[in-house]
Symmetry: C2
Subunit: 355 residues, 2 copies
Amino acid sequence: MLPLEVLKAAGSEITCAHGTGQSVMEMSHRSRDFIKIIERAEALLREILSVPEDYTVLFLQGGAMLQFSMVPLNLGAVNAGEARKKATYIDTGVWAGKAAEEAKKYVDVRIGASSKDKNYSYIPAPPPPQNEDSFYHICLNNTIFGTVWNELPETGAVPLVSDASSCLLSEPLDVRRFGLIYAGAQKNLGPAGCTLVIIRSELLGGAPDWTPVMLRYDIHAKEKSLFNTPPCWSIYIMSLVFEWILKLGGLPEMAKRNREKAAALYEALENSPVFRPTAEKQFRSLMNVPFVAREENAEKRAAIESRFLNEAAAAGLINLAGHRLAGGLRASIYNAMPIEGVAALVKFIKNFDPK
Amino acid sequence: MLPLEVLKAAGSEITCAHGTGQSVMEMSHRSRDFIKIIERAEALLREILSVPEDYTVLFLQGGAMLQFSMVPLNLGAVNAGEARKKATYIDTGVWAGKAAEEAKKYVDVRIGASSKDKNYSYIPAPPPPQNEDSFYHICLNNTIFGTVWNELPETGAVPLVSDASSCLLSEPLDVRRFGLIYAGAQKNLGPAGCTLVIIRSELLGGAPDWTPVMLRYDIHAKEKSLFNTPPCWSIYIMSLVFEWILKLGGLPEMAKRNREKAAALYEALENSPVFRPTAEKQFRSLMNVPFVAREENAEKRAAIESRFLNEAAAAGLINLAGHRLAGGLRASIYNAMPIEGVAALVKFIKNFDPK
């Protein structure tokens, strides 16, 4: 979901952006007009998130999935003949697990902790890093299971790396705690097609010789994300979203709104005789609220959830199915979801008759 | 440049696509609404280009630059301990050269022929492939130097691979002649952020184990380009561009228009006392027309070209500087450039006073 005023602003200048006589979709990425757009996007992001000067911001492609390869390639992989390096991954769900699987191609992965035993309904206690770790990877907000790291692992000198795809810009975040943060744009930042990477600049430059050139952070950093044609339109929409966030009051205001929305929804689920939230209380995400019917018979439960989805859709409440890998139900209440949308869902849950 | 009616159509439904209540920028890539869009884009492309049934169409990210790695990784790279494979690359300009450089990481590259001796102003005679070649790579249209392969190399059983970024859909093309065709979207297909790959399906599946998962054609093929979130908006705009091409009469009509435009421009340059085209006659691109001032003194030539650029821009004729790696002047006259745009440039060239 994107803010309606962002979509309207983009629509109003779709054939002619800022009086340039052309659409952002037509601009050369090396034109002054586009460079102004990408520089403004970066400046706004740095302001919103208080990105320190010694961190580099990159606008890349390929989604978080490509970061699953780029992180170990740039921070841990070695040239032929050299001893493989180590890294710690914490397994808090499907995406955290996929990131670890991919990393095994390039580094020796230790799964430091996992919450798989309880269907990823909590965040496990993170062990300290191994001395030899080249980095330590977590998934900050787990989109599918609705959990979030409220306290970050202490990793000392080992760079903490986080997939923040589904929570970046939903509340304040201390960038200094991380060596690298990455996020696919399509949750809180803008349309699909762009991936944001924020990396402590001293970590640039470690990729081995055989790394595909497009997968090297140092190359993109040197060229200010213009090494090749970037996803210009996505970056432009992101800059409009960043403006919208700042105008509303930045991350403190986003956090306030998101806390209100999540609290209302969790309260309704806690008190519902029909449904219950699945994530443990102290680890609950502000962005993704998975829930299931309380009914214990699997067949009956599936029937209730299916009817809920159908009746909700008929009432204009869409995208409430759980992820295909988790089942059940899930409300994603990203920044652009207004409190009214959550209120409508709360009312619908309260009035839902399981028959 | 994109067709104005495509931009207008996209603008008219930017907040609500086809009555779905949401923007294409907000759609889940696994929603029925988006799957309809990507399936339609593929069907239209297959119709326009007569893509045979045994070829797979992929909508990827990362531009042609990422293909410079993906092609050798998928068609030639080997697992640790296996003997490196070979490939032939023909060096017809900056992009062809970069593709060959990148491939050296993964295969033993032979530069079969080069036109560097005459500043890439022609297409060299291609040698037959080596028996051991895993593939044979050309750049079909050379954007910077304005040359095009009018006759394809005969490569027998060795798959011919081509970067077609700057000419795909500008005229009919016999897909059967190729093992693989790739093209960044941002010339004739749509906005930056999507890369089209057309691959003979039997070539899928050759990537070694250590290939980054997002760089494997077979994975994207199996998941119908929905392995991860694709650049939904770019694919949607591409589908509108494909509709526009079909409505105008498909590739025969595109070719007719492009030939007319290029002929008018080359004629003006041939007859100009001030300027001359740089590409040799039999290899001239229909898409990119590089030219320089005839003045032989380098300083005076630069002054004339600089004044031309300034006066042209003042007259509304923009983007006429040569590529930063080539200098001089260049008119790119892709599908969406109307004949009137070329006529205006021709008139401006004829009337330009070098002083």
